[in-house]
Symmetry: C2
Subunit: 207 residues, 2 copies
């Protein structure tokens, strides 16, 4: 095993340091966050920091950096208190990845990439019509992470949309059939394969 | 597409609601968190909430619920301010999943599952010897998430260990070769396949 200490990471070039640090969590989700500005401009941005926070109510976390290309996402969420999370599958991967480019505020990533906005009554933020597993959230709170000035956005799930045949009665969703991708680093995506489902773990008698 | 509203989630049975809510982020990482109590007891617990927060320094987030089986993890981290994150591969999946069972505090999950603790000089928390990609962190801060009384644990990476042949000069790590698994819900795990690496995205001329 190779040892890489904090000081080794600090002296990496910036791109290598960012690439390496972003591999540390292992496989990450990859979703497009859909938002609308108060003046009606749609926005889409890829995020890999979507995290389950709770189930009752269903709460989801999302980490945003104030100084990055996703700043339109954060400002739109603060303005409208509403956003969507749209899973990415291989059929829209190129477009999803391209939403990370630095478009000016007046350019919608929907227009730039050819993805289709889909609206539902009473929900300001656009869904991605091509996504097969997507949900809308209401902003609950934003929490500053002082260590590096990032922000944890906490949202409550309002509406989930997915193909009925991929939802089981026990609450499981077939991510392999839906085709949701995983990601790592800044630029690498994976298909999910060979799902293994294990029974609820009970303590063994270790005496 | 099937519509599932907040009220539909609220009336699910508890297990279905937890299972369903935990699928919403899509593919999640799955790691074993290694800790040591002040009285020298090792602990291992599976977490799927490991999130990249920053690269300079390398900061990683981890969400803990105060009222769950992972409470030994949280109390140990608060006591020693040190913990390890160990990727799970298929060769240790059964043992890793079994670390979620409710063992009493005096039982080490290492002993109960047969995984091997590995210590490095100056680092209190145990690594999992069988893990192929693992790192130790120093606690930076814990941040309360008031919406549901969970806690975001923020750590700074101190030492990363991985096979040298799977780390490229540009900072990329070959997660497929390492065999790191993804997870969803509470009980389902995936292999990563068909990696796709895309070039840095630049804004297209949309005029």
């Amino acid at each position: 095993m190779k040892n890489i200490y904090l000081t080794d990471i600090e002296v990496m070039g910036k791109l290598a340091r960012v690439q390496f640090s972003n591999t540390l969590p292992g496989p990450k989700p990859i979703s497009l966050i859909g938002t609308l500005s108060l003046d009606g401009q749609t926005n889409l941005a890829p995020f890999s920091t979507v995290t389950h926070l709770g189930s009752n109510p269903a709460l989801i976390g999302l980490v945003s950096r104030p100084d990055m290309v996703d700043r339109h996402t954060l400002s739109n969420i603060l303005e409208t208190r509403c956003y969507t999370i749209n899973h990415v599958h291989s059929g829209i991967l190129d477009q999803a990845h391209h939403c990370s480019a630095r478009y000016p505020r007046e350019t919608s990533e929907f227009t730039a990439t050819g993805l289709t906005p889909h609206f539902e009554p009473g929900i300001a933020a656009p869904f991605v019509a091509e996504s097969r597993f997507r949900f809308a959230l209401d902003l609950v709170e934003t929490i500053p992470i002082n260590a590096n000035d990032t922000i944890l956005i906490v949202g409550k799930v309002r509406l989930v949309q997915l193909p009925e045949e991929h939802l089981a009665a026990d609450g499981s969703v077939d991510l392999t059939a839906i085709g949701s991708l995983a990601s790592t680093a800044l630029d690498t995506y994976f298909e999910l394969s060979q799902p293994t489902r294990l029974p609820y773990a009970k303590a063994k008698n270790t005496l």
